[in-house]
Amino acid sequence: MADEDTSRESTPDDGPGATPQDDAARPSLWHRLRHRRRDRLAAALIGVLTLLLGFAFAVQVRSTDTDTAYTGAREEDLVSILDQVNAREDRLRQQISEQRAALEQLTDTDSQAAAALAEAQQRATELGILNGSLAAQGPGLRMTISDPGDDITPAVLLNAVQELRGAGAETMQVDDVRIGVSSAITGSGGALQIDGQDVDAPYVVLVIGDPQVLATAMDIPGGVSAAVRREGGDVTIVQSDQVVVDALRPLDQPQYAQPTD
């Protein structure tokens, strides 16, 4: 490649006249050309080398700036720095464990609160069913008390309610009146009232509880069924897996009683 270039550049000089003077000038021209080429090559090499030097210099300065700050430190300094770092690590570790504990506590509190809430809700449901402010469903029985002679007295119906409660009835309604803890049965035969509401025969009692136990309690000798029949009425008991007690009682606001802690 270099030879080709040289010959091509020298041909024009060769061409016009091959005088002895030219012959004499040729080596110096060659020399000059070669010299110029060498100069150019050298300049390029110098440029590349200095460029590399500048690059390496900048890179080295940068990397020294960033990560080798402790290279020149004395041993005692390094030891004290190490101690500081260790102490800092201990402090940070302690902080981590404290934060962990706090987090655990908070999570615990959270789950405790959730559990308490669930429990409170369950309690509210139970109490609602108990005092009649919530509709309920479940196994139980449907008892119809017919009273053709209007002879069923409040005492008989109250006895039936008490017997059902005694047999484990969880909640019940008579006709469309929910029976609660303070329900009162008043009036006289044929014109009974429960909590002030008129109920008419036949009295349909819907009870939720163990159907077997409830039915047995109604049928014991001298029990509710016997009393009703004595009064001229009749009792029909149908056990069911699904009784819906959906009459509701308004919730009494306690006027005097305050909860104690």
Binding site: I46, G47, T50, L52, F57, S63
Partner: protein, 110 residues
Amino acid sequence: MIPILGLAVGVVLGLLLDPSVPVWLQPYLPIAVVAALDAVFGGIRARFDGIFDAKVFVVSFVSNVVVAALIVFLGDQLGVGAQLSTAVVVVLGIRIFGNAAAIRRHLFRA
């Protein structure tokens, strides 16, 4: 002109690209830079003395860098890398000081 230009472009490139030095090169790069600086100062002095030769400069530049790196490499292999690095830096530093003094005499005639 070309060396100054090359230096400037190299510095700018190095600052802009900001490459991380590979680990195997980390012990040698500073020594190589110092050796190259020594060659550059030698070249400037030769220029002032009027005896600058491009070939000599290029060869001395490359050989300086290679020899310096080689010495540090040998020192690392022998377990005295840090000491040999210091020795190389001291020697090159003395040379740079000498060259700088010669340049100074040329520039300020003092």
